[in-house]
């Protein structure tokens, strides 16, 4: 099983929780502290992220970048393609 991770731009995030709801792994949750805009922001709180990109797709603020464990460079490249065009 591929594993992945996400990076949330915490100063961009507005804490809408859409990503959290869309994560099949329930890997995300809201922070307790607030960012400079006054929002609690999304963060990865479990390490079971598969890099499925669901959260990123629904994020209105493009605050999420998704990374994945490459099986091989080639596969990874594909992965990118699929991700973008799937």
């Amino acid at each position: 099983m591929i594993t992945g991770t996400v990076v949330v731009a915490t100063e961009i995030c507005k804490g809408c929780e859409l990503c959290i709801a869309s994560c099949p792994q329930e890997s995300l949750s809201l922070s307790t502290s607030i960012n400079r805009k006054g929002y609690r922001y999304a963060q990865l709180t479990k390490n079971n992220c598969t890099g499925c990109m669901n959260c990123a797709l629904v994020c209105p603020d493009s605050a999420i970048t998704v990374y994945r464990q490459p099986k091989s460079a080639k596969h990874a490249a594909e992965a990118v393609k699929n991700a973008q065009t799937a």
Binding site: R36, K37, G38
Partner: protein, 188 residues
């Protein structure tokens, strides 16, 4: 002689900045004073910054727009950065503690950091932080009486929210207490 008090109240939308100003204005009107309340907000519907200028005066308010203030009640960093210099020397500057990262450097002001949000959260109602700040403000600048503020609340709040009035009252008192016991930065 003309008595005039010019206040700026500023923070994020949703922090109750505008209503705080309205309550002051309303109570002052009840006391027969002349008043004006002038709001300003950004393009955002939620979040974003908001502020209002409130003028309470013994005479008809000529210009509702002023550039310097007797008091400032500040609920976030951007607002502090924007208005810190606009408080008249010797004026009052009230800040909501948790939202301020870099406090104002001026030493010619009566400056209070009030942990309103923290306290309100403990009380179980975050939204009530603005009442704590209002209480603190009135302790230092009693331009309207607490009684009238409470009367105002009763008249302004729709019936269905009247059960919240006791909590608001408690918040006001807490705010007064903070301000009363507060050791001013300036005087440190």
């Amino acid at each position: 002689m003309v008595q005039n008090h010019e206040i700026i109240i500023a923070g994020f939308g949703g922090q109750g900045v505008l209503s705080m100003g309205q309550i002051i204005a309303y109570s002052a009107m009840k006391e027969g004073k002349e008043i004006s309340w002038m709001p300003a907000y950004g393009p955002e519907m939620r979040g974003g910054t908001a502020n209002c200028m409130v003028i309470v005066s013994s005479n008809r308010v000529s210009s509702p727009i002023v550039t310097t203030f007797d008091s400032g009640i500040i609920l976030n960093q951007p607002s502090l950065d924007k208005f810190a210099d606009k408080i008249k020397p010797g004026g009052l500057l009230l800040c909501e503690e948790s939202t301020i990262i870099t406090p104002c450097k001026r030493d010619d002001l009566e400056m209070l950091m009030i942990p309103a949000t923290a306290t309100a959260t403990n009380m179980g109602k975050k939204q009530i932080a603005n009442m704590i700040l209002l209480g603190a403000f009135l302790e230092r600048r009693p331009i309207v009486s607490l009684e009238n503020v409470l009367k105002a609340l009763r008249e302004v709040l729709p019936e269905r929210h009247h059960h919240l009035i006791p909590m608001n009252e408690e918040a006001l008192h807490l705010g007064q207490k903070f301000a009363a016991e507060y050791v001013d930065h300036a005087s440190v």
